[in-house]
């Protein structure tokens, strides 16, 4: 409710039954089925905005912003792989499928990532020629559905990411509704055109971490131990999951917090399952440190990363790199105000659009409609993404230099304080102005 209305009428909106909640109750009553949507969690969660850096002063020595180097490169997957991946910046593009996204959008992601020397990732639906062609470093996801999975593409990949879950829906499988199952998507996934595709939530040929260890060995055998193998999990029981992933033989662990986006799933899943990214990182780092594997098995963090401060804070908490999905789509043009009129015609508005599953995205990104897809120029959109990635990198470097660090990975928890008790407890850094970390003794 706007403040203006409140001030002039004295009407008071219920915090419990606000208008959004009431609208959902009405929608449920009218349709009898749960709401499905894309995007990530929209509720307010403890996040990186609740952390601040302690810049250098008397007790710390800063680096010159424009004269002294701050390294941003990172090597991923040097535990077992013969060919680890070297990235120029520690910001990667998260897995998003062709099917959920248009071919032009996938190509743009590849172009943008390659322009700045980082990697992009396939998704639930296999590898497209456009994506491979435009991605100098491409991570191939190995998902429960195994849509489009084949050994030729596996060997073309620069790394393999075994996906156990994602932050938007840990414990859930993918979903692609019939509107987006075009001829090409159907062919790639070996499915009838137009069906509502429900991906499995569990891998079909292994159960549990002991089996996973054998599965990883199989993938290494098929690829002759050339490429790194990542394990991606949605953030829930992160401490235990990371330990098991390392034990299963991962070169890299990817943790996706609940702010991570999705192409489509139940709203109840997005908003009520998983833990915030902020809470997951210290758990993951603790697990790695206890095993003596921190920095040996690299940690990639994703879920709600928007700017260079978020990147720097992830790395200060112990991540080796981050991955972005929703932010990358926004950089391409997702939810752009130039399409506001068209968003309103389909019952949404620029900045609010989350019905990715319907395939009617006016920006031409989360669609398979040929006419809408044409709206996205992959060259121009890719360049926008590259620009955005450059800004994230420059911002993260700015903060690192201010903390006296000549490498983003030299940032550390000691550089951070928290603004709230909750974020202090989750991030395991002191409440600002105190030496108190909730849950830890003085």
């Amino acid at each position: 409710m706007s403040n203006e209305l409140n001030e002039h009428t004295g009407l008071r909106e219920s915090a419990t039954f606000d208008r959004s909640t009431m609208a959902e109750i009405r929608r449920a009553a009218e349709t009898g089925i749960y709401d499905i949507r894309g995007f990530g969690a929209k509720r307010k969660l403890p996040h990186f905005d609740d952390l601040l850096f302690l810049g250098a002063s008397m007790s710390r020595y800063p680096l010159e912003g424009y004269r002294e180097k701050c390294n941003t490169s990172v090597t991923l997957g040097n535990r077992f792989a013969k060919k680890p991946i070297k990235l120029d910046i520690p910001i990667t593009i998260a897995g998003m499928s062709f099917g959920a996204l248009s071919a032009n959008a996938k190509e743009a992601l590849g172009r943008g990532a390659s322009e700045v020397g980082t990697s992009t990732t396939t998704g639930d639906g296999g590898m497209t020629a456009e994506e491979r062609g435009q991605s100098k470093k491409l991570i191939y996801q190995y998902l429960p559905s195994r849509y489009g999975m084949n050994p030729d593409d596996l060997r073309k990949a620069d790394a393999i990411e075994v996906v156990l879950g994602q932050g938007a829906k840990p414990g859930g499988g993918g979903m692609l509704l019939g509107q987006k199952i075009s001829d090409r998507v159907a062919q790639m996934r070996t499915l009838p055109k137009g069906i509502d595709q429900r991906s499995a939530c569990r891998h079909p040929d292994w159960t549990g971490p002991d089996d996973l260890a054998i599965k990883i060995q199989e993938l290494r055998e098929i690829t002759d131990w050339q490429v790194p193998i990542y394990i991606k999990v949605g953030a829930t029981r992160t401490y235990y999951d990371v330990k098991l992933a390392v034990k299963a033989g991962a070169d890299v662990v990817v943790i996706d917090g609940m702010q991570g986006g999705t192409a489509a799933t139940q709203e109840v899943f997005i908003e009520h399952v998983g833990i915030p990214t902020l809470a997951a990182i210290p758990q993951a780092v603790q697990a790695l440190q206890e095993m003596g594997m921190h920095r040996k098995v690299q940690l990639i963090v994703s879920g709600g990363i928007r700017n260079g401060a978020d990147v720097a804070k992830c790395m200060a908490l112990g991540a080796d790199a981050v991955a972005i999905g929703t932010a990358a789509l926004i950089a391409l043009g997702c939810n752009h105000p130039r399409y506001d009129e068209e968003f309103r015609k389909i019952g949404s508005a620029a900045g609010f659009y989350d019905d990715y599953q319907e395939g009617r995205d006016p920006a031409g990104i989360s669609t398979q409609d040929p006419e809408l897809s044409k709206r996205l120029d992959p060259v121009e959109a890719g360049h926008r993404l590259a620009n955005y990635l450059r800004v994230l990198t420059l911002e993260a470097q700015t903060l690192a230099r201010a903390c006296g660090k000549n490498d983003l990975r030299n940032l550390e928890p000691e550089d951070l304080v928290a603004l709230t008790v909750e974020s202090a407890a989750m991030a395991r850094v002191p409440l600002a102005g105190t030496c108190w970390i909730p849950g830890q003794s003085f």
Partner: protein, 227 residues
């Protein structure tokens, strides 16, 4: 013919030797002795090879096979011929669960029984089982054929897409959206070809055909209880 003894050589050495044939093929026949249930034997092949495994194999034997003919002269562990693309894999004994999982093509023949989830998420492979298959076989099967000469366990073909399932024996129960369908002449012919390719002498007329009712292909409120 080249021989490998897995008490003397590692699985890595064997697989590398097999993968080395993918370019210029120097040797087409391989016999593998003393496999002792080791995992990932002969996976990722990409050449017209003939590989005989003289004993039991562990998990994911012949995984992602292309073109090659792999014969296990014993039992096979979990996920045999998973994601096979082409070629043929024959198991002389029994196969554990998830045999032929997600496989896109080729022929998988199991001369004994197969465990649970045989043909799970299969995507075009043909699977012929001389014995029985376990529960949830062909779960979410997308394309291809599953032939069972014995009995099938619970929830056969649950959430099935377009796989043709033929069973000669008793089906304990059908999964969601899987129904018995009419056995028309084209199906008798298709099944006859499958049995012939598998080298199994059975009368196609004694089989029943099962397939998808296609009622769960799109979300409908009325189907909520089936999900």
């Amino acid at each position: 013919m080249k021989t490998f003894d897995l008490t003397q050589n590692t699985v890595r050495e064997l697989n590398q030797a097999l993968h080395d044939q993918s370019g210029e093929c120097m040797e087409r026949e391989f016999d593998v002795f003393s496999p002792h249930g080791q995992h990932n034997i002969a996976c990722g092949l990409d050449q017209n090879l003939s590989v005989n495994i003289m004993g039991h194999a562990g998990y994911f034997c012949a995984g992602m096979n292309k073109k090659a003919t792999v014969t296990v002269h014993g039992n096979a562990g979990q996920g045999v011929a998973e994601n096979m693309m082409s070629g043929m894999v024959r198991i002389k004994g029994d196969a554990s669960q998830a045999a032929g999982a997600t496989a896109h093509g080729g022929l998988l023949v199991i001369e004994g029984n197969a465990g649970a989830r045989c043909g799970i998420s299969m995507k075009g492979v043909d699977i012929v089982v001389k014995g029985n298959v376990g529960h949830m076989s062909c779960f979410m099967g997308q394309a291809g054929n599953l032939v069972v000469c014995g009995d099938a366990g619970e929830a056969l073909g649950d959430s099935l897409y377009e796989v043709h399932i033929y069973v000669k024996g008793h089906v304990k129960s059908l999964g969601a959206d899987c129904v018995e369908k009419e056995m028309r002449p084209e199906h008798i012919k298709e099944l006859g070809n499958l049995l012939s390719r598998a080298g199994i002498d059975e009368d196609p007329a004694r089989f029943k055909r099962y397939g998808s009712a296609r009622q769960l292909y799109n979300f409908k409120v009325d189907n909520a209880s089936a999900y």
